[in-house]
């Protein structure tokens, strides 16, 4: 029973476990977590893509 519960817990667990000590970058007065840096980087990428990628055109129209 306990083994089945443990197996079920493992099967339902997230493939990437982020519940461990965080990593932080220190730069002078600035302290920021690597996770926040990644999210900010992704937001900058999405913004750049939104500006640079061509606007989709309607089929058969201009």
């Amino acid at each position: 029973m306990a083994m089945a519960a443990a197996y079920g817990e493992r099967a339902l667990a997230a493939p990437v476990d982020l519940n461990h000590t965080g990593h932080y970058v220190h730069w002078g007065v600035v302290q920021i977590s690597v996770a926040n840096l990644v999210v900010i980087g992704l937001m900058v990428l999405v913004f750049a893509a939104a500006v640079l990628l061509p606007f989709p055109k309607g089929r058969g129209r201009r």
């Binding site: 997230a14 982020l18 932080y24 302290q31 900010i40 061509p54 309607g58």
Partner: protein, 314 residues
């Protein structure tokens, strides 16, 4: 009639170039994409799962810190006891913006008597051993000066004892304080104090104000917060437990806490709130602020977005 400005007259809007655009389609695509992304990321990373910090957990993990804090609550020398509004009416307490005492103006809306609410009432409500009944009676019968002398003497003695261990405190006149705080520790370790501080007469208990204030008066919770980079001087407002991303959009709010004069000010919360209110107002009023409102014209990002249109115009 003379024109009011020299700006070139704008063409009629009907003369602007147009393009077909399916707003409903974009809304649907965005909704489905975000829903799939949310479900996918939740399945991949799950969510922060830190165990709650309770009075029971604190009293078991750091009993000496719990006892020292209970003595401070009893003697009304803790941070909560001297915080001022909204918890109590401590003279001179409360943050202000210049002459404006915002905290005092709001008044005492959540009255907290730390000795009564955190120590004496829970002891009275729990089944009392005879020595606790006698200690409670002795405490109630003593004048305030005497009560404060007992708590101050016991607090000093705890500070001098190895690791602040109550069992190793030097003999002295502490009145009923060691019995009261010793019983409170037992009650907390058994888990009873969490329930008693939550008891608000509601079926669902969602008001954690009192246990949280008690917890925050000790050093245990602050130590845990420091370990997770959640303290104010660690940009904690924008962090999350573990390796999860936090509230990155609060970077400017928490930034001010890291620099002078806010870093060392006792009015930092009020001053930073006012500064952010002014900056937010500035953001709302961007179209009316000369210079700032011209930034899009100087950076010309709009020409990049509408590059097809400007290419055709050339």
């Amino acid at each position: 009639m003379k024109p009011l400005s020299r700006r070139a007259a704008e063409p009629e809007s009907a003369a602007f170039p147009t393009r077909p655009y399916d707003l409903l389609k974009e809304f649907t695509v965005a909704l489905v994409a975000v829903a799939l992304l949310t479900a996918g990321l939740a399945a991949l990373f799950s969510s922060p799962d830190d165990k709650p910090v309770t009075l029971a957990a604190w009293s078991a993990a750091a009993p000496n810190d719990f006892t020292a804090t209970a003595v401070a609550e009893l003697g009304a020398t803790s941070t909560t006891a001297q915080y001022g509004p909204p918890y109590n009416d401590t003279p001179g307490a409360g943050q202000r913006i210049g002459p404006l005492g915002l905290q005092r103006a709001a008044g005492v809306r959540i009255p907290v008597d730390t000795a009564e609410d955190f120590v004496l009432r829970p002891l009275r409500q729990a089944p009392e051993p005879a020595d606790v009944t006698a200690a409670l009676a002795a405490w109630s019968a003593a004048p305030t000066d005497q009560q404060q002398m007992w708590t101050a003497a016991y607090s000093d003695a705890l500070g001098k004892a190895p690791d602040g261990d109550p069992a190793q405190v030097a003999h002295g006149d502490y009145g009923p304080v060691p019995v009261l705080t010793g019983r409170l520790l037992t009650l907390a370790q058994a888990g009873g104090l969490d329930g008693q501080l939550l008891a608000q007469g509601h079926f669902y208990q969602t008001d954690y104000t009192k246990p949280l204030l008690f917890l925050a008066d000790g050093t245990y919770l602050a130590g845990l917060a420091d370990g997770q980079h959640l303290s104010g001087d660690q940009w904690g407002m924008m962090n999350e437990t573990g390796n999860y991303p936090g509230q990155a959009w609060l970077w400017l709010y928490t930034f001010w806490y890291q620099v002078d004069p806010f870093k060392t000010s006792t009015n930092a919360d009020a001053l930073i709130w006012a500064l952010m209110a002014v900056l937010s107002l500035g953001l709302v009023l961007v179209p009316f602020i000369p210079g700032v409102r011209s930034v899009p014209r100087w950076t010309k990002v709009y020409r990049l977005i509408w590059r097809d249109h400007y290419r055709q115009q050339r």
